[in-house]
Subunit: 220 residues, 2 copies
Amino acid sequence: MTFRPDHQPEPGDATRTRLLDAAERLFAEKGFEHTSVRDITANAGTNVAAVNYHFGGKDNLYREVFHRRLADLRERRISTLADLFESPGGTATLEDVVSTFTSAFLEPLMDHSEGRLLIELIAREMVSPHLPRVVFFEEMIDPVRESLGRALRSVVPGLTEDQASRCVHSIIGQLVHVIHHAQLSEQAGRQPQEELDLHTIADHVTRFSIGGIRAIAGQS
Amino acid sequence: MTFRPDHQPEPGDATRTRLLDAAERLFAEKGFEHTSVRDITANAGTNVAAVNYHFGGKDNLYREVFHRRLADLRERRISTLADLFESPGGTATLEDVVSTFTSAFLEPLMDHSEGRLLIELIAREMVSPHLPRVVFFEEMIDPVRESLGRALRSVVPGLTEDQASRCVHSIIGQLVHVIHHAQLSEQAGRQPQEELDLHTIADHVTRFSIGGIRAIAGQS
DNA sequence: GACAGATTCAAACGAGCGTTTAGAATGAAT
DNA sequence: ATTCATTCTAAACGCTCGTTTGAATCTGTC
């Protein structure tokens, strides 16, 4: 406290940032309903009123937790897929597309970084939404879905738009299920291999989905 | 009222049954957290205290809603799969197993019967559990998973136990995702084709999963 | 050092929740 | 008709929640 004289990080935003961090962690761990404003402010080391002063309510804080990260994540998701088709000159395969997407989805769960919390938040929000549709689905989920659908169609010639869309749902359904399963297992106390296991699971989802897509494309 | 003298249906259980029915519907529609005891008792046409008188609390009522249906459902799920291997003398195919399971899972959603509510309840409970693990997962989910895993292995010779287990997760992940998607779409106001659509989706999940399982089985 | 705005705080508010209670209605048995 | 346990009801209890309030504290400026 005594030293370190002149450059605190973002003078007025310290409390605001601590609130966002605490809220992100607690919402990801326990969900919106089971996280009280008093939980958040206690973890942020501040007063109950701080949430309403800085964000104008619990709902707005929740929205802001997503807002802080969503744009960046969506861009990375989509551009990672787009990169596949630009660099080497159209040599991307179905394997590339599916394994790239699956890895991007599951990798944040393997390292214990901040990225993990966002993935867990998204998995929760997809199942029991608290954000207005336009904020989450229309700005985040739908673009990613469309991007993956387009990528699939470009590497699997026979695939119709509807078929691609349903394949996207099949992939995302598997991935969200994996995340929920991991969350529940962790809550239940056990914390097993995890790292090795998630690689195995990512591999499985990739292979399974590739086989599934080929089967869909190869029908009437 | 005046006539029909001697055989009312279960004299003392009328209120109890109305509570179970109302609770089942509301829990399925809005989830455990967003359904209050006052909601339930108002829909059942009785007093707030009735829940505690007949069930001893909201949690026990929730448990009883499942208890009333789970045993029957689990038996039907497992025996439907088991029937495939008994009647015609082992001619069951992978297509039979997957399409039987998928249909059993999604059909209750197509007719608007009582079965629909239970499926929606299960999808909710799998994602945010309120029952003790032993009641729901160990008595319902795990046996069904094992049953499906065994069925898969018996029609796909190369499949290891771990591979089969992961394929089961892939199938269930897709199906749960479909149900959540249907619930969210319905909540969002629109009520589109539904019936035709669910047949298409069931078909898709079946084909996709068969292709996925074959791909998993055909690897090193 | 005094002022003004921004920030934090302890305390309380009002609403909704699950639950409890005491007593009134009900219905069958004596 | 009286008894008695069962069932139902209106009212309240205690608690947690998100939010508000008004004063205290901090921060930078003249």
